[in-house]
Symmetry: C2
Subunit: 204 residues, 2 copies
DNA sequence: TCGTTTCGGTACGCATACGTATCGATGAGT
DNA sequence: ACTCATCGATACGTATGCGTACCGAAACGA
């Protein structure tokens, strides 16, 4: 798709020969993560990434020794804390906002996690990178919300449902495609928070 | 001839085997599902299954045309409804009992689903088989529990949390290894039902 | 007892992918 | 303008796995 017009050999700057820039590196990372989402970790090939980014295998292998190391670098680079900036002043507001935020990237991240599926249990390094780059920060941010809610007195610190909130949030996110065939969107997740999570916490 | 005893069919007849019996077939199915759990779908090889069951590749390919068809047959044969026989008389009791039951096979089934990961999105036939053999029956059984609860008047039919119960149950099951590194056991699941699911349904 | 069936073992062809090596082309610094 | 580092292309060696073909041997039925 988006194939460029067949250009003369001397036209168009499509031939990149300069040193790899950070932007160029991000193209590689985006490409490999996209292919993982689409084909699964095992089916992703260095050749495929090279072709889709119009670079050569050599270029990839010059930067990263092996495929797992390449994927790990891509995961690390795509690390973001999506629950990070949320602080509405109430736990209910925070959780709803988190649900809304989650709906936006649910498809991409859920699919990535799904497609990495078994690879993360086979390759310890990959598993570690995935956890510290994508999983742990989100959990920490979510638990920070809960901590603030407890601090404000909205929920008792020993409320039995507290420890299950992260599992509920991420679990529902991840299981939706299996149950209904579609990824969880913001509406669904907000509805879930309002109908199940908040009541479980006694925040009707 | 027949100087060797080797009479009983179940006396560790190591060498040759006669026509494939249903028990023998189950050995093949168990082997391939075990290997999927351990190595992931893509890494499972017909050669590996043949070696671990001490049969030959030819034997496998005589029964099943391709690897996906073989795996599909194995999934179909392993179909069971684990939430099937549960009916304690109350919704709370049913859900707790389901949680307990789920704890028993959580590791195996969660791992299988995880290791099939992307394969089910790539191979439509596999996806269909997995759904109708392992997923849909459980969902149906769970919803039957909920239906009975509504019928008994324990929960209002339009209770907003109702539609999220399957997602909560299976979602938490599936996400636990990602969050804590261990599979959900019966204690954890029962605790989750009591602390989160029942309160969300207003069943204190 | 004898023939038919099916098994287990193995070799083969084909395809794919990893990772390496080589080579010409080209952009960047001086 | 010249040199050097790096890029893109490509060929190569190795390994692996799918699916097929062939063969001798063992089991089952008549």
């Amino acid at each position: 798709m988006t194939s460029q017009a067949a250009d003369g050999p001397e036209t168009v700057a499509s031939s990149r020969r300069s040193k790899i820039t950070p932007e160029r590196e991000r193209e590689f990372f985006d490409a490999v993560l996209d292919q993982i989402r689409e084909c699964g970790y095992d089916s992703v090939t260095m050749e495929g990434v090279a072709a889709s980014t119009r670079c050569s295998k050599s270029t990839l292998y010059r930067q990263w020794k092996t495929k797992p190391q390449f994927v790990a670098a891509a995961l690390r680079a795509s690390s973001r804390v999506r629950f990070g900036g949320i602080d509405t002043g109430s736990l209910a507001g925070d959780l709803c906002e988190a649900a809304r935020a989650a709906g936006d990237w649910s498809g991409k991240d859920t699919r990535l996690l799904q497609s990495l599926g078994h690879a993360i249990t086979a390759d310890h390094a990959l598993k570690g990178v995935l956890r510290e780059a994508l999983v742990d920060p989100e959990i920490a941010a979510l638990q920070e919300m809960l901590r603030r809610g407890v601090e404000r007195g909205e929920v008792r610190a020993d409320h039995p449902a507290l420890e299950y909130v992260p599992a509920m949030m991420f679990g529902v996110l991840r299981i939706r495609p299996v149950l209904t065939g579609q990824y969880a969107d913001a509406d669904y997740l907000v509805g879930f928070v309002e109908a199940a999570v908040l009541p479980a916490l006694g925040l009707t």
